[in-house]
Amino acid sequence: MRFKSGYTLPKEGDMTSMIDMVFQLVCFFMVALNFSEAEVNERVHLPSSELARPPDGPMPLRITLHLMPTGRVILGGEEMSIPGLRRLLILEKQVLDVSDKQRHREATIIIRADTAAMTGRVQELIRQCQEVGFEKFVLRARQEETRLPSTGT
């Protein structure tokens, strides 16, 4: 029986392709990462709409209100009833008006209401914001992938 004599250096595998792939994966996740998670809430399931399009530009002053099916509202991670929201809205208004007394008029209230929430509660929420002094409102919906048939006109 023959034995190989002498010391052989350990062979290294080529790591280049693996590192390339891992770098590409890291880049993909970095680009696809959603940094605006503060504006979403898993407990709220938005209704979908084929016309819901992302806004053209970022809203500079915005307050996001999440309305759950139970009628409770979430603002800044704090859950409360609709009448209990007034105190926080007044605080938000005071913060906005520090530099300019009318700055709160430029703020947009984004309403993210659940599909099963009562419409009357959404209106109560809007009324509460109006009474504090906010004027601009948007209703947020999930963008629908499947297109409904057009009017045929």
């Binding site: 790591m15 590192i19 891992v22 770098f23 994966l25 890291v26 996740f29 970095m30 696809a32 990462l33 959603n34 998670e37 979403v40 938005l46 209704p47 979908s48 709409s49 084929e50 016309l51 819901a52 399009r53 992302p54 806004p55 309305l67 984004i110 209401a113 659940d114 599909t115 099963a116 929430a117 009562m118 419409t119 009357g120 959404v122 209106q123 109560e124 809007i126 009324r127 109006q130 009474e131 004027e135 601009k136 409102f137 948007v138 209703l139 947020r140 919906a141 999930r142 963008q143 297109r147 409904l148 048939p149 057009s150 009017t151 006109t153």
Partner: protein, 161 residues
């Protein structure tokens, strides 16, 4: 001047790759665990009158708002749609066609500025039907393009629960 003669050619310089690969893998695991596929969201602007409406002269060119009434059943499901005085069943497509009949299939900027919809909904109506109604009266998609019908939408005063 002395010149060194290298023996055996160039020496291979090895960079320590292990720490870098460790960090990259940790980054990869972090991103993979925190990754969420979030569907994109869009907005509908609402024209909401203030609690204390300002008194002013009425613009004669302003069309009166078209009234859409959404009635709910006891469970919050949609029971009926009315466009003005016309009953439309529960078909949002018919609602859209009714709006098209008023403002035209491709309204110009003048119509878009003046046409207004007022949504009058039952308190217990599920919010998804409101969004469906807003979608129906706002416009439609034709050949991949959004055709706007009405941009001014507001709620009627809330009905008591």
């Amino acid at each position: 001047m002395k010149i060194r003669h290298s023996q055996g050619g160039f020496e291979e310089i090895r960079l320590p790759m292990t720490p870098m690969i460790d960090i990259i893998f940790q980054l990869l695991v972090f991103f993979a665990l925190t990754f969420k596929i979030a569907s994109s969201e869009g907005d509908f602007n609402m024209k909401m009158p203030l609690a204390a409406p300002s008194a002013g002269p009425v613009d004669p060119s302003q069309l009166p708002p078209m009234k859409v009434r959404l009635t709910a059943g006891p469970d919050g499901e949609l029971a009926a749609i009315r466009f003005g005085d016309r009953a439309l069943g529960t078909d949002f497509q018919r609602l859209r066609q009714s709006v098209v009949a008023v403002v035209g299939a491709n309204p110009g900027p003048g119509i878009l500025e003046s046409a207004e919809i007022e949504l009058d909904c039952d308190y217990q109506l599920k919010y998804e039907f409101v969004i469906e109604a807003i979608t129906a009266v706002s416009g439609y998609v034709k050949d991949g393009q959004v055709v706007r019908l009405v941009e001014k939408i507001k709620f009627a005063p809330p009905r008591t629960g």
